[in-house]
Amino acid sequence: MAEDLTSFRTQVQAWLSEHFPSSLKSNAAGIMEAAFSENGLSADAEQWRQSLADAGYGAPTWPKEYGGAGLSDSQAAVLSGEMANVGAFNPIPGLAGMGVTMVGPTVLEYGSEDQKLRHLPGIASGTVRWCLGLSEPNAGSDLASLTTKAQDDGDTWIVNGQKIWTSGADRSQWCGALVRTDASAKKRDGISFLMLKMDQPGVRTRPIKLIGGASPFCETFFDDARAEKDDLLGPLNNGWSVVKRLLQHERQSQTGAGAPSGSGSAALSIQDLAKKYVGTTESGELADADLRSRLTSHLMATKAHAMTGSRIREEARGKVEVSAAASILKNSATIVAQVRSELTIEMMGNQGLGWEGDDFTPEELATVRGWLSGKAISIYGGSFEVQKNIISKNILGLPETTQKG
């Protein structure tokens, strides 16, 4: 077993030295920025993407026949470790939008052989970008009350309705949408998961400006949009089970407390930042004792959150099931991230109130924008309130009551 990984590691190292252009070294941000600019990927980056796609390393754990490399989790860890060692970065998950992280795993689980062959290779090569159409203006936390409907006209599905918070919709080629296919059924029944092309006359997108500025989110309008009959994923009228799985993928990705808003790897720790803006007493304590107590509580909460993540990983080692404590981590991560933002703008004082311009450093401006956009963490992907309902009901076994999201 250890032997296998060693030889795989050697193989990966050789492959990297052959295919990874040194011009791209340690430049993940630059690659992605170019990808979404008008110019698109640089020639080197495009060549690197193609090399990854050819090797199946864009989505390395997917089966080879669908564009992956069929790697085990351990092998995938070796691959990503070796890539990190040489400063290489896999742009394909970013290029594919919701494809690699959300749509792909769901297609692998629920798709027909035909669907897998048609959709997965484009995702795994980073050439087809996907968005997800889930929420609607009147179906937020209460997703099951969605009204976008798809009617079977014999040859195709005809889709009408409006989605909101469709991240990256204005730059996607495909959309996975939750639609109502049986209006007479109860709320959670009668819903199906449909895949459709974005580049067609019946689809219109409008980017949403958020309180922190421009955002990847869109409103998406379907006006007699069409989807192929064989692009229904999973059983008809049983899309709810598909979406529950999707949301699990989403929540799992949100249980870390994330990096400090607006800080690169060279950023100061929050306590050093505090000392910089607030100053210290003669004995080296933060000059604002009130802030110092609250900052300490925050650092303790951050540490407690990190230690809980480690504990759960340790407990779950070898088990397949997602730990029940995942719901705790989502809210805990939310509090950690949002309190950090609030404390940071508080300590920056007037310098933490900038919107734009040279009177504020880029870090100060990024802190303010991050503080604003971070308010979403407790709203999307299972709101703070919904998570509490889940803990109360599913984990503590308290009887169901009226639920709010």
């Binding site: 929420s135 203006p137 009147n138 937020g140 936390s141 209460d142 009350s145 909101i164 918070w165 949403i208 400006k209 958020l210 309180i211 500025g213 803006y277 607030v278 604002d288 004792a289 009130d290 802030l291 703008i345 508080e346 920056m348 004082g349 007037n350 310098q351 933490g352 109130l353 900038g354 919107w355 734009e356 311009g357 009177d359 303010v368 604003l372 308010k375 979403a376 407790s378 709203i379 999307y380 709101s383 703070f384 309130e385 509490k388 009551t401 009226t402 639920q403 709010k404 999201g405």
Partner: protein, 378 residues
Amino acid sequence: MAALTEEQTLIRDQARAWVTEQSPVRKFRQMRDEKAPLSFHADDWQAMIDMGWTGILVPEKYGGSELGYLTLGIVLEETGRQLTASPLLASAGIGAAALLVAGSDEQKQRILPGVVDGSNVVTLAVEEGPRHDPRQLSLAAMSRDDGLSLVGEKTMVHEAMAATHFVVAVRTSGHAGDENGMTLVLVDAESEGLTLSPLSTVDSRGYASLSFSDVKVSEEQILGSVNSAYVHLEQILDRARAATAAEMMGTAAQAFDMTLEYLKTRVQFGQVIGSFQALGHRAADLFTEMELTRSCMEGALQAIDAGREDVPELCSLSKTRTGEFIHHMSNELIQIHGGIGMTDEFDAGLYLKRARPLEAAWGNQAFHRDRYARLLGF
């Protein structure tokens, strides 16, 4: 709401009607989107002058109505509700207070009638660092034959682009951190050597940094006596804090009303969300906090009007409690509105972005908790 006189009730009703009809929050939004250079609409400002709001603090002999701080607070609460932009707080509130506290009769006579009729806009320039600390002044004022020469910087000066005069706290002796050695001077906005740089802040309000490069100030421009301005400065700041708190109360109360309305109308899981007990209890908590905060805010203004001895404590109390409430309320405003609250086209974000600068102004909650404890002797 405090027990109001008939006149105060009239003024409140007029103010409420005017802001709702003539300067609701969408007018602020429009100003923001246009990036109006003064960060307010001249017609709004003129209307306020016409309604007499600029004279509320000013004695009749200088052209005002001298109705006092509680009355000013009543008006500021209403403008705070709709984020109505104007130099009302900065000039007719804080600027006028500075002259009333520290000015000579001659100086008041020279400046205040213009504050009332709008030809003067007077604003206070105190801050130098990122955090409020009125002892940490280092803007240097050196003696000259006929007055002082100023060299240094001020920042976060409210409504500076509209100002005709700045009341500037300067250091005439000692070092940053000393209470002694400060002096207040009235600087003409057109002074040679004075440069303004507008700041683009998250609340889309008018602030600028001032740079003083050998700005000359004559003796008639000195407010009060040289080197001993700290007591006056604290009195002025307390009035600034109490008046700002009134505006904060209005902004937060509007956020509460928006939230309550949303709780009554937004349907999820087949019910209006206000019927979910956890949200009902949060609304009850916010209401309780709001009512307690209102008492502090009004109490501080009444104490100033009555010339009471506990003005400093009550102003720190008022600023802290309104700061805590607007902080909590602005976060709940977004959270309870959910996704729609995150969008720029909805108003919630405007209130959130207004909250933090108001919290920081003239000392944040932590500053005033510390000050309150010192005033109480522990």
